[in-house]
């Protein structure tokens, strides 16, 4: 087991496209690290550079203390799980699992012992003599995982390994992956475009956008203290509510509402993008929080809780960063109705009576207000 360290890693493709720009990352030994970002942000390229499948254009890659920047993939002791699984079609499951050991000239007895062990951990014993073609999607996924585990490598590299499974299987596989990592404790770099997967799996999450590292922190810190508008809009589901607002004299005002500004903004005087998480509201006003009155437009019932969506009398925040972040989550979610007003989503407990069209008074947690620079998107608190 070893950590992974990237120093100013850059990838420039022929033709001048820069896929990864000056990325510094440090993965601790045994850590589960997730690379997340919208498609085309360079996360897969970065992973392939760690594997040695893609040469770097600049910077160094360390595996443990060893500089492996110029090593071939077969000289780096890492295992990879591919999005398509990439099982060898003409080999049985047993030979698929043992292939990496065979290539590294592990003795036959040892090889068979390890294959049997991994097969039993993953529940693949009864499938060992089948070919990949005779397996279901979930079984193939487990074989792909087993092929990585059996080698006992210094690190696992996973490229969206769950994205080909159906939604239900994906959730259960996610939990099993967490368990597996607890048991094996192998350093893991996991690539995904799904921020929910990133938040639930990662001990630390690196958010990438356009080849540049935005923020690298624990899921909690990404959620609580996003460094910029992109991370704020990208992390969290439903997404953070955003509206243009102006700060002056210790108050934030937007769409005819005035709220006391958070302490960090008490003596600024400027226009900002204000962000409030859907969970930053509460139905009652008896806790001393400032309130605003809204008219629910849509109510989504989820059983224990409900999402209440309402419109604000303010234009929609449509900066590039927000666009990129939201597009990543709902790639083909075209708008049914033209939206040019800002809409807020609020999560309320199911016991609060809400009905569409009935005015509703909501309290806002002043500690959960975020403000971002309108031009740079940098967090202001």
């Amino acid at each position: 087991m070893a950590g992974i360290r990237l120093e100013r890693v850059t990838k420039r493709f022929r033709g001048g496209v820069v896929a990864v720009r000056d990325v510094d990352l440090d993965v601790a030994p045994g850590e589960f690290m997730v690379l997340v970002g919208p498609s085309g942000c360079g996360k897969s390229t970065l992973l392939r550079m760690i594997a040695g499948l893609e040469p770097v254009s600049g910077g160094r890659i360390f595996l443990g203390e060893k500089d492996v920047t110029d090593h071939l993939p077969q000289e780096r002791d890492v295992a990879m799980v591919f999005q398509s699984y990439a099982l060898y079609p003409r080999m049985s499951v047993r030979r698929n699992l043992g292939f990496g050991l065979r290539m590294r000239r592990t003795a036959r007895v040892e090889r068979e012992r390890r294959v049997a062990e991994v097969a039993s951990v993953l529940g693949l014993e009864h499938l060992l003599d089948r070919r990949p073609g005779a397996l279901s999607g979930g079984q193939r996924q487990r074989v792909a995982m087993g092929r990585a585990i059996v080698r006992e490598p210094k690190a696992f590299l996973m490229d969206e390994p769950l994205s080909n499974l159906d939604a239900k299987l994906r959730v259960s596989m996610r939990a099993q992956l967490s368990l597996l990592h607890q048991r094996l404790g192998t350093t893991t770099v996991y690539v995904t475009h799904d921020q929910v997967e990133a938040m639930t799996l990662g001990q630390r999450v690196a958010v990438l956008r356009d080849g540049t590292l935005q923020q690298y922190d624990t899921p909690q810190n990404l959620f609580r203290h996003p460094v910029n508008l992109f991370v704020a809009a990208f992390i969290g589901s439903p997404a953070m509510n955003l509206v243009h607002a102006s700060v002056s004299g210790g108050a934030v005002s937007f769409a005819g509402t005035r709220l006391p500004a958070p302490s960090a903004l008490s003596d600024v005087d400027r226009r900002v993008v204000l962000g409030i998480r859907p969970t930053g509201f509460s139905p009652s006003a008896d806790n001393g929080w400032p309130t605003l009155e809204v008219v629910p437009e849509i109510v989504e019932e989820l059983g224990d809780e409900r999402y209440v969506i309402f419109e604000l009398d303010a234009p929609r925040v449509d900066t590039e960063a927000v666009h990129a972040a939201l597009e990543a989550q709902s790639a083909d979610d075209a708008l049914l109705l033209p939206e040019n007003r800002a809409r807020f989503t609020v999560r309320l407990p199911a016991d609060v009576p809400v009905s569409v069209g009935e005015p509703l008074r909501l309290a806002v947690n002043p500690e959960r207000l975020y403000a971002f620079d309108q031009d740079t998107g940098a967090a202001l608190s």
Binding site: R48, A51, Q74, F82, Y85, M103, R140
Partner: protein, 271 residues
């Protein structure tokens, strides 16, 4: 209206089939006729009695050429398919700087007509002492086959997922072992195509065979020409020779043709 169209289509197709099968029909029935029944006037009639007389008469003259052609076509198809597979692999999945330049260069070989290289080739082969025997002819056919087999395998491997090759690399296989353990086992469909092609072209070749080999090593096409080209040869013997000469290529097609089917990649990828 639709039904009429469908019927019309099948009538047309059937007519084409008959048109193409006519010479085959004449060849088969004439080969099976008794010498007394062979005549131009009755060429379309079925034989009254089936006679293998023609086959018996020509086999001794064809036998040697037949064996030579087998000894020629089998190694040619196997070796040029293997070399083509290696070429195709490095040109598609294990690319090297300059691959885009080398590939068209190899393809260019396909467009060089036999006749244009014939004289220098015969001179070269006699200089290096490979003229007269089968070995030289085999070598020439292997080299002449490389462009097409390279093209076949390159196209086939291009359709294979890159992730499969990447997986082998990460698993610790170098170029040679990735080729042997991962690429070759999934290539039978390409082998079938390349080997049918190479077997047929080596078997059917006349020009190189007649120029490069001495009498003892003449392939069957030359032997066939000697029978058919004579002045007073009975038709049933000519047809019997022709039938014998085309049996192996038909056999290769029937045996390897079933590998044409798709589906050998099943299960490698998400599916």
């Amino acid at each position: 209206m639709r039904a009429a169209l469908v019927v019309g289509k099948y009538v047309a197709l059937l007519a084409f089939v008959c048109f193409f099968l006519m010479p085959v029909y004449v060849m088969v029935i004439t080969a099976l006729k008794d010498p007394a029944q062979v005549s131009v006037a009755r060429m379309w009639d079925l034989p009254d009695t089936v006679s293998l007389d023609g086959f018996r008469a020509v086999w001794p003259k064809l036998q040697n050429g037949f064996v030579n052609s087998v000894l020629l076509a089998v190694p040619v198809s196997v070796v040029s398919a293997l070399l083509g597979a290696a070429n195709g692999f490095v040109l598609s999945k294990w690319r090297f700087p300059g691959a885009d330049f080398v590939f068209p260069l190899i393809l260019f070989g396909m467009f060089i007509p036999y006749q244009s290289v014939l004289i220098p080739m015969v001179q070269l082969m006699s200089t290096v002492g490979l003229q007269g025997g089968l070995d030289g002819l085999i070598l020439v056919h292997i080299i002449y086959g490389l462009p097409i087999t390279t093209l076949i395998f390159r196209s086939y491997f291009t359709g294979i997922s890159d992730e499969l090759i990447d997986a082998a690399k990460v698993d610790g296989a170098g170029m040679l072992r990735t080729f042997l353990y991962v690429a070759l086992p999934i290539a039978p469909p390409a082998f079938a195509v390349a080997m049918i092609w190479q077997f047929t072209s080596a078997w059917n070749d006349f020009l190189f065979g007649v120029m490069l080999t001495s009498t003892d090593y003449w392939p069957i096409t030359v032997a066939l020409n000697n029978i058919a080209g004579g002045q007073q040869v009975p038709f049933h013997q000519v047809m019997a020779s022709a039938l014998l000469a085309c049996v192996p290529t038909l056999l290769v097609y029937v045996l390897l043709g079933r590998f044409f089917m798709r589906g050998l990649m099943a299960g490698a990828l998400k599916g």
